[in-house]
């Protein structure tokens, strides 16, 4: 390729750093450029994916604490400065060196406190939770049983309805356990002297493969449907509905009620697990939408029977508990109860200002039919910068511990540094640079180069939009 190409490429590169030309990169990043039929859009920010939960530490009283960095984006791309160009006309390989004096890295964080279990194999992802016949160490046997129920329920429509109805509200049911009052009663509320764990074990026993056809899961109900099992289930259901309603998950509360209505007719009889599954498989789900916007709630519920006296009594007995549940939720909502004590996710924002190392953008230059150089940058590489996040604080004792552990989490800083360089090397920026170079190499006096938008000191980024 001729020498003139060399100088054309160099001139174009230099013009990207010359404020007096229309191709000044920092300006085009802010305002965009349009010329001919080419639109180069402003480049306010480069996003990258959520980190997912990154475990920071695991110690009492917090348990396993993780942070998930979301809405990640790198902005202030107009801080790019020129660090030189090398171009080999023989090979057509072009390498530009740029450095960002200060990019801004921002996003939102979610801090979660969680239980930790010893399952190292959970590292492999959700697939590992579903290994047939190989319960992960530490997994509760009850959960394993529940999972095998799930597989069976999936085999018929009615079972799928039940599963679906549950998963529609899974998150709400999870959240219910963040209510201390509910959780306390779930653990200790006695029915005939027995707590939930007793009845859970009863379920588990009945579900063991040897017992599925023989052992009753719900005890021996009388003709009003009363059994200790049914009574405890009803108590727990009342409280769950109350928590869900207090937490604003009214659909989940309704679903919990409806599920009860749906299953109630059979609860007056003693049932094995297999008979329950049989009932489910032979039932018709209350809603079968093929097309059309029918809502679950509009489906006709199963006919109601008059409520037996034992249920009325449970309602009366639980009234003060339900009031307590409500107070508890109120305190959480008002921040009277520190969020870090609830197990609920804690939300905040973060930012970091980062000076990058000198980055190399590599690409190729070819000549089109008209002999005009066409530049295409394909890659950006360079050392990862150091990323020191500043978090918006939240109240309580957890925040300083999160901050301290974050400061020590070099692995996370390294990952973020890598992600930021990777975001800078995204096609958005490389395309912007390529288009700008091509516009500059084909520059002719008199060419009209307009802005896509006016300059803004504070362009909106994705997080602000």
């Amino acid at each position: 390729m001729p020498n003139s190409l060399d100088s054309a490429v160099e001139a174009a590169w230099n013009s990207m750093w010359d404020r007096s030309t229309p191709y000044h990169l920092p300006t085009s990043v802010r305002t965009g450029l349009k010329s001919g039929l080419t639109w180069i859009k402003p480049l306010d920010s480069l996003p990258f994916a959520n980190t997912g939960d990154v475990v920071l530490f695991n110690r009492p009283p917090w348990g396993g604490v993780s942070i998930d960095l979301q809405n990640n984006e790198v902005s202030q791309l107009d801080s790019a400065v020129n660090e030189g160009l090398s171009f080999d006309p023989q090979t057509g390989i072009i390498q530009g060196k740029i450095r960002f004096t200060e990019v801004k890295y921002t996003g939102k964080y979610i801090v979660r406190r969680g239980r930790s279990n010893g399952s190292a194999l959970m590292l492999g992802g959700s697939v590992l939770k579903n290994i047939q016949g190989a319960p992960a160490p530490g997994d509760d046997a009850n959960i394993t049983l529940a999972k095998s129920y799930q597989s069976e329920l999936l085999q018929n429509k009615s079972g799928r309805f039940m599963l679906g109805s549950y998963y529609d509200h899974n998150e709400a049911y999870c959240k219910a356990f963040t209510n201390d009052v509910f959780r306390g009663r779930w653990q200790s509320y006695p029915t005939n002297g027995k707590t939930t764990s007793y009845y859970a074990a009863q379920t588990s026993t009945a579900a063991q493969s040897a017992n599925r056809n023989t052992v009753s899961v719900n005890g021996t109900p009388d003709n009003t449907g009363y059994s200790d099992y049914n009574s405890h289930a009803f108590s727990m259901q009342l409280m769950l509905v109350a928590v869900c309603n207090c937490q604003g998950n009214n659909d989940a509360a309704t679903a919990a009620s409806n599920f009860h209505d749906y299953s109630q007719p059979h609860s007056t009889q003693s049932q094995t697990v297999n008979s329950v599954l049989g009932i489910v498989s032979s039932s018709t789900p209350p809603v079968t939408r093929v097309d059309g916007p029918l809502a679950l709630q509009s489906a006709s519920p199963a006919p109601k029977v008059p409520e037996p006296a034992w249920k009325k009594k449970i309602r009366e007995d639980l009234a003060p508990v339900l009031a307590e549940i409500q107070k508890e939720e109120d305190d959480v909502r008002r921040g009277i109860k520190l969020r870090e004590t609830t197990g609920l996710p804690i939300y905040g924002e973060f930012r970091a200002y980062i000076a990058t190392s000198t980055l190399t953008i590599t690409g190729s230059v070819r000549q089109d039919e008209a002999g005009e150089p066409v530049v295409e940058f394909t890659r950006l590489s360079g050392d990862s910068p150091e990323v020191n996040l500043t978090l918006s604080p939240f109240q309580g004792g957890l925040f300083p511990e999160v901050e301290a552990s974050l400061a020590k989490a070099n692995f996370l800083k390294a990952v973020l540094g890598k992600r930021i360089v990777s975001a800078l090397g995204s096609p958005k920026l490389l395309t912007h640079l390529s288009q700008l170079m091509n516009m500059a190499t084909s520059h002719k006096p008199g060419r009209v180069v307009g802005r896509v938008r006016e300059y803004s000191q504070c362009p909106k980024t994705r997080n602000q939009a």
């Binding site: 010329s35 001919g36 039929l37 639109w39 994916a49 475990v55 695991n58 396993g64 604490v65 993780s66 979660r112 406190r113 969680g114 239980r115 930790s116 279990n117 010893g118 399952s119 194999l121 590292l123 959700s126 590992l128 579903n130 290994i131 160490p137 509760d140 959960i143 597989s151 999936l154 799928r160 679906g164 998963y167 529609d168 899974n170 998150e171 049911y173 356990f177 963040t178 201390d180 959780r183 779930w186 653990q187 859970a200 079968t288 939408r289 097309d291 916007p293 679950l296 197990g343 996710p345 089109d368 552990s405 020590k408 692995f411 002719k444 006096p445 008199g446 060419r447 009209v448 307009g450």
Partner: protein, 875 residues
């Protein structure tokens, strides 16, 4: 030895002593001067007598007084004559006074019996004559009051002069009733003041004795001469424009002695007259006939501060019956005017001004030839210009000489000739401009000519062609700075420029009225000449696909013109369409890349697995492109390249919650004509009516279908059932997992949470994390493992996603390694190593690199329990 005056004169006394008659012979005693005077001026003798005659004196001086008794000292004159010794002879001094009217012809009848003196009568006056010994010329002066042709004339001087021969000259300031019109009839139509009359028998150049006249001519010819100060009014009022107001001419009229019918009448400037850029150093008139005047003109022309040109010429003014002026002046000296107005490479040759009259008055025109450039490439043009009020011309106009007419000259050629410093190679559009019927102006100051504006420098206009369009343009080539600046109209045969494709009128580029082409402007400096920092612009009224908008700016850019067409007619769409008009091929292309907020819901009808649904207030990313010529680059994020023009293409992309829609579509050219009348509504309608395009891609993927149905608000069960009937090849479990991952992305199970909460004192925490992730943060080597884990987690999660074949393989491998024995002993590394090895081969280069770093470390401790492993990392 001196002469005895008394003794010498006594012999001439009459015997009675009462008269004397001195003959010229006295000269032998007194000297030849006295002798000559007596013989020539006094016709041979001086005779004095009268009642008061006296003769007195001595040897040194004698005084004689009395009454004249012989012509020219006729009896009406009283005389005193004094002779006194001087050198070896005597001087003679005469004084006299006229006592009563005498025709002067009686004094010198042999000399003055014919015109003009034969009708001059003196009524009073004094005579003086002084003769010195040895003198050879003599003047007898008569200061007198005279009448001429029986009309009172005024007072003046009659000089009788002897200079080898006798001559008579009389000059009178006309104060009486005498009128010169009888002799010079043109004077009847002229206005003159302070006239004077000379009568002469000889040519006289020394007029110093004549004072009080309006002016004195260089000489007086024999005959009757009339002089006056002439105003440029009356018959010669047309000449007044040449001079500053109030300029007077010197009039000189003469009736020759020898040929009284050959009267002359002349006038000339009293002093050089400066009129703006012209200074007339000579401007003389000579009447040929009563109403025809011959003009002689010499002028200095100062067109600018550096150039002083001298031009000479003549002409004729006829003022009756039809006034006409025909005069011209031509450069003298070298005969050329190089670098007019300081413009290099231009020489004006054979330059002349012509003067003429029209109804508007005096016209001044220049003619000549201009040589542009040097050497063989020089262009020779004929020059013409008009000058107003004798001001320095602001321009010269020139056109190709007839031999070169019809020859096309390109702008680059002209620039090469005029301003070689201006490099036009990078102005492709300018290279396409050629000019026939070239007219060229050399412009000193900004001018408007025939509706066109020209800047100082070289102005160019003519029959300008530009890609088959007409440029009715005035170009200015300037040297400070070196530039082309031009304004005019761009048109197609005088009308608007219309671009059609496949029978559809795409765009009409016109003036605001729509009837003619747009006005256009060129400025190679990109300065403010075109109103903004643009180089080649046109202000056009635009009609784009039926969407009529007001005037907008078209700007040359590269090989075409660019403009932003506002698509603001629609109530729900307002943006600028970037258009490029390629004059070379009469093509147009347009593009748009924007965000589009329709401000209304999208109602999508039922299609495929989807029910009808409404997307509330969507925001699109929209790319639109169309053209009659292929684009140079693929269009938009989908890199669309049409197979052939014309094309109309759009792409849009938007997200609705967890669903991402992206449509790339080319539509039939013939359907576009009505699109832009309300583009926003059209686009919304298009989306609503083309569910296939919108939903087709989504319907191909179970995950995408699930996402959309989740977004629509379907419940888990409904979606799962729809997936089962739609994706019949997929297992229900897989579809269930796909859906569960969407609805419940955290993976936190309420059942598990409840189960965990069964233990008294357990915190109410939903989230559950493997403790190993926390444990590894405690050591540097642990952190190193975590770095690789988190770095590759997105890729790992994707590989292990339900439905991914790698996930199935990973499950099998894990099941075989996570043996009961291993798990019971807390040995987890073999399973982890096996998993990594399994997925490694499917991973990216980065994934493999991480695996290759992690595996040796894990393998080193594969036989250790978990606790031992942690201990080893810390060591």
């Amino acid at each position: 030895m001196s002469v005895n005056i008394e003794e010498t004169l006594k012999p001439y006394l009459a015997s009675d002593g009462k008269s004397i008659n001195i003959g010229s012979a006295v000269g032998s005693a007194f000297g030849s001067a006295v002798g000559t005077v007596i013989s020539e001026i006094f016709s041979g003798s001086v005779g004095i007598d009268g009642a008061n005659f006296s003769f007195s004196g001595n040897e040194n001086q004698v005084t004689i007084s009395g009454q004249g008794n012989a012509a020219p000292l006729v009896s009406e004159i009283d005389v005193t004559l004094i002779f006194a010794t001087q050198n070896t002879g005597a001087s003679m001094s005469l004084s006299g006074s006229i006592q009563s009217d005498i025709p002067i012809s009686q004094a010198w009848p042999s000399h003055l019996n014919s015109a003009p003196f034969n009708v001059l009568d003196l009524s009073s006056g004094k005579l003086t004559l002084d003769v010195d010994f040895g003198a050879s010329t003599f003047d007898l002066d008569i200061s007198a009051t005279a009448s001429y042709e029986k009309q009172t004339l005024g007072t003046g001087l009659i000089r009788v002069q002897y200079q080898e021969s006798l001559g008579f000259l009389a000059g009178f300031i006309v104060t009486g009733t005498w009128n010169p019109v009888a002799h010079w009839s043109p004077l009847s139509n002229l206005t003159f003041t302070e006239g004077g009359v000379f009568l002469s028998t000889v040519e006289v150049t020394d007029l110093s004795a004549f004072t009080g006249f309006p002016y004195l001519p260089d000489k007086i010819e024999p005959g009757l001469t009339f002089i006056a100060e002439l105003a440029t009014t009356g018959a010669i009022k047309d000449l007044a424009s040449f001079f500053p107001s109030g300029t007077k001419l010197d009039l000189l009229a003469n009736v020759p002695v020898n040929n009284p019918s050959a009267t002359t009448l002349k006038a000339s400037l009293q002093a050089p007259a400066t009129n703006n850029a012209f200074q007339f150093t000579e401007f003389s008139l000579e009447w040929q006939l009563d109403s025809k005047i011959q003009l002689t003109i010499i002028a200095t022309f100062r067109p600018d501060k550096n150039d002083v040109l001298t031009l000479e010429g003549d002409g004729t003014l006829v003022y009756s019956p039809e006034p006409s002026l025909d005069a011209d002046i031509t450069l003298t000296g070298s005969g050329s005017w190089t670098h007019p107005f300081g413009i290099q490479n231009v020489t004006i040759d054979a330059f002349s001004f012509g003067f003429s009259l029209s109804e508007e008055g005096l016209n001044v025109a220049a003619e000549g030839t201009i040589t542009v450039g040097t050497g063989s490439g020089a262009v020779i043009l004929s020059l013409a210009l008009g000058i107003e009020d004798f001001e320095a011309p602001s321009f010269f106009l020139a056109e190709l000489q007839s031999a070169d007419k019809g020859k096309l000259v390109t702008i680059p050629e002209l620039v090469h000739d005029f301003i070689p410093e201006l490099n036009l190679t990078n102005f492709p559009l300018l290279n396409q401009i050629s000019i026939g019927e070239l007219e060229l102006l050399v412009v000193a100051a900004p001018i408007e000519l025939e509706g066109k504006s020209y800047l100082p420098g070289i102005g160019i206009t003519g029959d300008i062609a530009f890609f088959g369009y007409d440029l009715d343009f005035a170009f200015s080539l300037t040297s400070s700075p070196f530039a082309i600046q031009a304004k005019g109209m761009l048109s197609d045969n005088g009308g608007p420029i219309v671009i059609k494709a496949a029978g559809i009128t795409i765009v009409t580029i016109s003036d605001a009225s729509g009837k003619t082409g747009p006005s256009a402007c060129i400025d190679t400096t990109g300065g403010g000449y075109c109103g903004q920092s643009n180089y080649f612009t046109a202000t056009a009224g635009l009609a784009l696909l039926g969407l009529v908008k007001g005037s907008l700016l078209i700007q040359a850019s590269g090989d075409g013109f660019m403009f932003d067409a506002a698509l603001g007619v629609s109530t729900i769409f307002k943006d600028e369409l970037l258009c490029e008009f390629y004059p070379k091929s009469n093509d147009i292309a347009a593009s748009l890349d924007t965000s589009f907020h329709p401000g209304q819901d999208l109602n999508i009808p039922a299609w495929g697995p989807f029910p009808s649904f409404t997307i509330p207030l969507p925001n699109f990313d929209l790319v639109l492109a169309f053209g009659t010529v292929l684009p140079s680059q693929p269009i938009g994020p989908a890199k669309y390249m049409p197979s052939a023009p014309p094309y109309f293409y759009f792409y849009f992309d938007f997200t609705w919650g967890i669903v991402d829609f992206s449509v790339s579509f080319a539509i039939d050219w013939n359907s576009i004509s009505g699109i832009f009348t309300n583009f926003g509504s059209w686009l919304v309608n298009w989306v609503e009516n083309n569910a296939l395009q919108l939903l087709g891609d989504i319907a191909k993927s179970a995950e995408e279908v699930a996402k959309l149905l989740v977004q629509i608000g379907w419940i888990f069960f409904e979606i799962l059932e729809k997936l089962i009937v739609t994706f019949i090849d997929m297992a229900a479990e897989v579809l269930f997992d796909i859906l569960k991952a969407i609805i419940d992305p955290s993976g936190i199970c309420g059942v598990a949470t409840g189960d965990a909460a069964l233990n008294p004192g357990a915190p109410g925490l939903m989230y559950s994390a493997p403790s190993v992730l926390a444990d590894l943060t405690e050591t540097d080597r642990g952190q190193s493992l975590l770095y690789h884990y988190y770095l590759n987690k997105p890729e790992l999660d994707e590989m292990l996603r339900p439905g991914n074949p790698i996930s199935g393989r990973a499950q099998e491998v894990l099941a075989s390694h996570a043996t009961q024995s291993n798990l019971e002993q807390g040995r987890i590394l073999p399973a982890a190593i096996a998993l990594i090895n399994t997925v490694r081969e499917h991973g990216s280069a980065e994934f493999k690199a991480s695996a290759d770093e992690v595996l040796p470390l894990l393998q080193q401790y594969q036989d250790k329990t978990y606790a031992e492993f942690l201990g080893a990392l810390a060591a």
